[in-house]
Symmetry: D2
Subunit: 337 residues, 4 copies
């Protein structure tokens, strides 16, 4: 149940209104937008007489019941598009923000070389895996803490903010210099990790699990936002279907639906979705055209020698070519790339 | 195994070459392109010494083994993009051809009104179901033969070629005035129907089954083309996955892969893929951006009263708005809409 | 909406009751069971006042609304288990009927040899494909009409009734000597075929499509039964999932649910479900234990040389061993094998 | 690559053999079986001349290359069936061990009442969730540490060993009195957790993720076993498919394949697989018949009032009835229940 507050209501009146509900055992979510302020009740609202509240509270413009299980991330509660910021980089309405870099950080030289190149091409954020979740214990598991230091070096050198994957909440302290913390697809329902990230202030990039529904992704985002951190970026990266020619099946309908149902920014990752280099540029164009707020793409200085996911990585020239194309298209869409 | 013939070879020499193989029990596919002519052998080619043939035949430039099970639809055999034509309408390289119309033909007035409107908006081909495959025997099964006559009336009135679904091969004679015969998703592996359509000369629009792989779609096209009809248009229309928020999951990677692996034109249907009206325009833009050769979209004069699939149909104004947007975008892509 | 008739009602009264509804534009299904007789209304029953009918008709014991879209196959309409009979062979309650034979009929000698052997082992019905739907046009397509004659010869020799797949309704006349007509998984939603089979009196074995839901299977059965033929056997044969180690994923929950929701007999096919010979015996035991009414299994005199599906076929000794095991187990279940 | 050692080889010789490989940079897995002892090499074995090693080492009987990516859990490396023990309870070859209890521990009284009852019915191990991973942050999250104490009380009262789910590796110390640590389906690829559990000596029950392949499940088990803990029990609990009538699709073929490919015991969970109480008994019978080593089933003193998963829980009478049936069947299978 969400109450849209009268436009002239004071912060003190809102606090009183909220306390009243919390005293009755409800949790609340306060959402301050440009158009209006909303207070969302969490708990057993079946017995609440909505009309009575609107008529008697004196501070409420109107109210409505929320049928979805997600509240804090629901567009009904928060009508404006959320723009997530890291430094002066924006992700959300009006922007098409490109995140690029290698699957894994392999050496300081490598990550700096890639960072410089993708920055010149137009990427705004640098990606690179330090802790790598791998199906086999015998596969390369990432450079770990050392990899984080290499990313910091690349950030220092280029000024690009960095995003990298966290594997569990005991690593949070290590991620101090990381600008955006990525929750990988396999961890989308690692609820203890989500709660821990809810107490951070920095942005979280939450990838959809390959077998998770759109609703489940929104519920996982709800874990983070309801724990106090509303800087969440959703990322579609392909779902598991019966088709074996691609690594996963990119679900672009999900991008549209996520943006309809939630105020959070939504990006997509054509590299993991397809697993095939030649599919990345056409899918990237489709991701822009369908209305996503950005792109996460793997780019590598030498894909053939990559320690991980070489087959789906663009080389730096291919990435540059793609970015030239995307810049023209973003202009048509009225978006800043 | 495919042999690329010498550029100066005569048709008579090719015929002799082909007869030689057919006398040894092979079937052959002859593919005449702008760059070269190819002869493809079907049968147990394991024992054929490819190098020996190239060295001794005197008419062969080079040969290669084909690892895929599809031959006639394989880009290895036929390097040029096939452009399928109906009247002066083209589907394929250089075009983005829009097919529009209602799910079902409901009356002559209805289909003529819609045909005029979508033509004005820029559609090149009229769709409309006469025979409707329905999950329930108690649902509306289409206007059947009468529906075909209504389509013919709309064609006569507007000049738009018509495409409609055939449900089995006994109906072929009824489809004489139909310009493009559609094989619906549920019939993608109705092999007797595919073979029968292989003996026609008119184009066939072959929809991917919701649980069929890309390879299986190409094999079904192979049934038609190897039976003598190479006017086949492939159509991606969403696959069945665990996600229930959409009717199906549109697989845009399939569009790219189909165009890489085959020379046939590929279109996509965002209406059946999503089942949700508000998803159709953004998906249509993504379909254009990813490189498809066209679009099949449901448009209805009164979606709320449609006998079938109203929830996914655009109304005629919405269709017009979409077409204005697509025309601008097609120009950027260098395509004729 | 279904009406359960008073126990002492006459056939004439029932006919009058039915005519009354048909005059108002409803279709009806009459279901005569051992406990009671039911009349089911098809059509827009929303405006029918159920209580009023019960109170005023004088022939109705009670009525209820049916929420499912399937009516004639619904256990609500027909509480008794249907037992399908061919000659003196029963499929349904109290029996565990085994259907065995090769994927494809290859020669008269082959099919007679297999028929004799599987009969001795305890199979009650002989299977064998004559018309073979194959993904590739270049694969063996079956012996066709000649294959049907070979099956007839085997039937004559052994007395075993025969089941074989029909590919389209133009073949019905060819199937005169076939005891049970099989609708293959790819044809589960070939509605014209289903309707045509509804006008036959002989049993139809309807296989679940690999990507069709339980509800859709029941709706396809409804096409046949509502067209007049209630001798339908449902067959679970594996669904398409992301798992690639097996050909399909056998869904045994479907067997239980189908028997709960419908009165029709339900069997399962572990050969097509798994695609792996060594999985067939354990899955067959599970199929019996879960409550299925029978088994359809591929058995071949020489699986290594089979023209089709050799990898999933038991040889005749393996089939005999399996049957000895199943006979003991059927006794525990209180079922006749 | 695995080497089967000569039967008369001494432990000292084996150690020397192993050290030789480790000095060359390989990891090794030592597997001591009743029939033979095996040494498995992990690393880049492509350059190892297998025949040369067999001929020259003096301690090797024969060797073979392992094509699968899993080694320590591979039946090729360890031919005997592993029997996992907790106290005097066995899980594996010759046993059909039933684990029962509520989805969530709700109170000490509740868990003790259930424990006593399921023990009397024949369950050997008590299950009960203390930390509950829930899709929604607003759903009951379990009694947590307090729930573990309630489980301990029930264990003390009944002598039943207890199994409960761990959500991350920081909880390991809390699990001291827990006999079997469960890794839930959502955590199957939480690799840091798997590695941490590899350093324990107590059994781990590893549930298959709803969208994970059989191969991926074996690779996750490999994480635990290769980290030093070979007490792993695999559990099939249903996969995510397009079918929505059940919560998941129970994949019994997986049980058979897991037992063929690995030496680890395999059980199945019909409660989570189906989500429907009436499906649990027939599926439990099928699980026994297909060859599983045990069953994990939800039983509750009052399912209608359960805080979690009531719809799929048997009540204590239903559980007792099921156990009577299973005991008869286990006798037929030659298994101790």
């Amino acid at each position: 149940m969400v109450f849209i507050m009268n436009p002239d209501v004071t912060r003190e009146q809102i606090n009183t209104f909220i306390s009243g509900w919390e005293n009755k055992g409800f949790s609340t979510i306060l959402s301050v937008g440009t158009e209006h302020t909303a207070v969302c009740l969490i708990g057993n609202t079946a017995a609440v007489d909505l009309d009575h509240v609107v008529q008697t509270s004196g501070v409420v413009l109107y109210g409505k019941r929320i049928t979805e299980r997600y509240k804090a991330v629901n567009r009904v509660v928060h009508e404006d598009n959320t723009i997530v910021r890291t430094g002066d980089i924006c992700i959300g309405e009006g922007y098409f923000t490109v995140i690029a870099g290698p699957c894994s950080v392999e050496s300081e030289d490598q990550i700096i070389q890639i960072a410089k190149s993708v920055k010149t091409s137009g990427a705004r954020i640098l990606r690179g895996g330090a802790f790598k979740p791998r199906t086999s214990p015998y596969d390369f598991q990432g450079k770990k803490a050392e990899g984080l230091e290499m990313l910091s070096a690349a950030k220092k050198e280029t000024g690009l903010p960095i995003v990298t994957e966290i594997m569990n909440q005991t690593q949070i302290d290590l991620f101090e210099d990381v600008d955006i913390v990525q929750v990988g697809a396999r961890n989308m329902q690692n609820f203890d990790l989500l709660k821990a990230l809810g107490s951070l202030k920095k942005p979280v990039l939450l990838k959809r699990g390959p077998a998770n529904t759109i609703d489940e992704l929104l519920m996982s985002a709800e874990y983070i936002v309801s724990s106090g951190n509303d800087n969440v970026i959703l990322c579609e990266r392909g779902i598991r279907s019966f088709e074996t020619m691609t690594r996963n099946t990119l679900d672009l309908s999900a991008v549209v639906l996520l943006k309809q149902k939630s105020h959070l920014p939504v990006i997509a990752d054509p590299s993991h979705a397809s697993g095939i280099r030649s599919l990345v540029p056409p899918l990237a164009k489709a991701i822009l055209a369908v209305g996503a707020d950005g792109l996460m793409v793997e780019a590598h200085n030498n894909p053939a020698a990559a320690l991980c996911d070489g087959a789906q990585s663009l080389d730096l020239d291919q990435f540059d070519t793609l970015m030239r194309d995307l810049k023209n298209r973003a202009q048509t869409e009225g978006k800043i790339i």
